[in-house]
């Protein structure tokens, strides 16, 4: 996917709404050597707010991926809920139709 170059206004976007941390602040923290979610969190407070990062963690992880080249899976803690990989909806739907018909 092609990424647009962002204007400075877009960089003022607040990524962590609980702690009011902008994209720019997060990028600066990464520029200063922050290369994990935890280090960015400690230096900017992004993720330490009321929602404990549920809203912003994914967005911060994406910026980290873009800036550091680390894959997302290495940046975010693993979850134990399926699907483990993106899966085509139709594959599940076909199975679901069989279940609904069997009953």
């Amino acid at each position: 996917m092609e990424r647009k170059t962002q204007t400075s206004e877009e960089k003022d976007i607040i990524l962590c709404r609980c702690e009011e941390v902008t994209q720019k602040t997060i990028e600066e923290a990464i520029g200063k050597g922050g290369d994990t979610l935890d280090s960015v969190k400690r230096s900017t407070r992004a993720g330490m707010g009321l929602c404990q990062g549920r809203t912003c963690q994914r967005l911060v992880a994406k910026i980290l991926r873009d800036k550091t080249g680390k894959p997302l899976e290495a940046l975010t803690p693993p979850t134990s809920r399926p699907p483990f990989r993106p899966i085509k909806l139709d594959l599940l739907a076909q199975e679901g139709n069989k279940t609904a018909e069997r009953k």
Binding site: L50, C51, Q52, R54, P83, E95, N97
Partner: protein, 406 residues
């Protein structure tokens, strides 16, 4: 952490956060305790529908309507972040003659209650939502219905409450409640004790555990709903789409109930301890929801189960949801699912929450909401009036815990 407060709210979901905000208008001495983060349970995991079309007359409709009035003012005057509120109308689609007949009956009866429902035919449905399946026969539509981002909304209330002086403690779990002479005295948490004479139990589907701490049986049960979300796709859908829970072999009476959200408990009054219905196969307990998010990921749901607080998602449920979603919005078939989750609708036997005072002095309940995104602001406004001015809650007898015992 503060050691005493006028009011201690337990739970940082939409009910606790709206209550904190409305109380902050009157007193600065409010504490909110949340064992995880704000909106970390049902209030961050739901579809954000603020619907009037599915409400029952009386308490339910009054709260839903009042909230629909309150949200625009809150957005303009109080919130400092966008909550993605959009008043786009709500649509319940159907595929069969049986559903159409039920839809006609429900539309007429709700119209007579003053809910502005319209019955749409297939062409009108596709005019509003061109991507929906050609197999859809029609829809029940209500132009008053709105939608929002539930997580951002709950956080916006928490921020407004904090600005108003409420002390919010996350990662703080309530372990027990001390009472004396049947009145609340203090709340004990993993971080210490807070003295208070008023406790608001806003613990959602965990409300009965908080009730146990004061020896009160609160018949709220966790109703598990599973969901998944797709990758981002080009914009195809404008609003939340709901299906029905009507099967091929449903009777017309069941179909009407399925449409109007009334539960078949009217013959027998709900009692404390009455267990949730055993519901049979998961395939019989699926109901379609498709919600486009602002970023054009599509959220799909759901199946209903009573299995306690088990948050695992299951392959069976996800396949049933996918089949329903594909049938309704065929383009979804080639889209990837990227994540699934489960959370709990705080369920009561008659579908009405439990709100108001109890036999324990100072112990107030506001829990058991199937639609707290919709009820939240109005409920909180009424609770603040009750706590601060002693004003009764509108239609309060319908929501009182005494309905299970008297």
């Amino acid at each position: 952490m503060k050691r005493c407060a006028d009011v201690v709210i337990i739970g940082g979901g939409i009910i606790g956060c709206t209550a904190a905000y409305f109380l902050s208008k009157y007193t600065r001495d409010v504490v909110l305790l949340e064992r995880k983060g704000i909106a970390s349970e049902a209030s961050g995991a739901n579809y954000g529908m603020i619907w009037e079309q599915t409400r029952q007359p009386g308490y339910d409709l009054t709260m839903a309507r009042r909230s629909l009035e309150l949200y625009p003012t809150l957005i303009n005057e109080v919130f400092d972040t966008d909550i993605e509120y959009e008043k786009k109308g709500g649509m319940t689609v159907f595929f069969t003659e049986l559903e159409r007949t039920a839809a006609e009956i429900v539309t007429r009866s709700k119209q007579s209650q003053g809910i502005p429902l319209q019955l749409l035919g297939a062409p009108e449905v596709r005019e509003l939502e061109p991507a929906l399946s050609e197999e859809i026969m029609g829809a029940v539509y209500c132009h008053e219905d709105a939608q929002l981002n539930p997580m951002l909304t709950t956080i916006a209330f928490a921020r407004a409450a904090r600005k108003g002086g409420v002390a919010i403690y996350t990662d703080t779990e309530v372990l027990s409640i001390r009472t004396h002479n049947q009145s609340v005295q203090s709340v004990i948490t993993n971080r210490g004790e807070i003295k208070t004479s008023i406790v608001l139990n806003a613990a959602g589907s965990w409300a009965s555990q908080i009730g146990d701490m004061v020896g009160l049986k609160i018949p709220v049960y966790p109703h598990k709903l599973q969901s998944f979300v797709t990758e981002q796709i080009p914009h195809v859908l404008n609003r939340v789409i709901q299906g029905t829970q009507i099967h091929r072999d449903s009777s017309l009476e069941e179909a009407v109930q399925g449409f109007s959200y009334t539960r078949n408990v009217s013959a027998e009054r709900p009692r404390i301890g009455q267990q949730p219905f055993h519901q049979g196969a998961l395939a019989d307990n699926t109901m379609l929801y498709i919600k486009p998010t602002v970023s054009d990921n599509i959220v799909c749901g759901t199946t209903f189960e009573f299995v306690g607080h088990d948050k695992n998602t299951s392959y069976e449920s996800l396949t049933l949801i996918a089949a329903n979603a594909k049938k309704t919005l065929p383009q979804l078939k080639d889209v990837h699912i990227i994540r699934s989750w489960a959370n709990f609708d705080p369920w009561t036997v008659d579908g009405i929450p439990i709100v108001g005072e109890t036999e324990i002095g100072g112990f107030i309940i506001a829990a058991g909401h199937g639609t707290a995104m919709s009820h939240g602001p109005a409920t909180a406004e009424a609770l603040a009036e009750l706590i601060v001015h002693g004003k009764p809650i509108p239609f309060g007898e319908q929501a009182s815990i005494t309905r299970f015992t008297d």
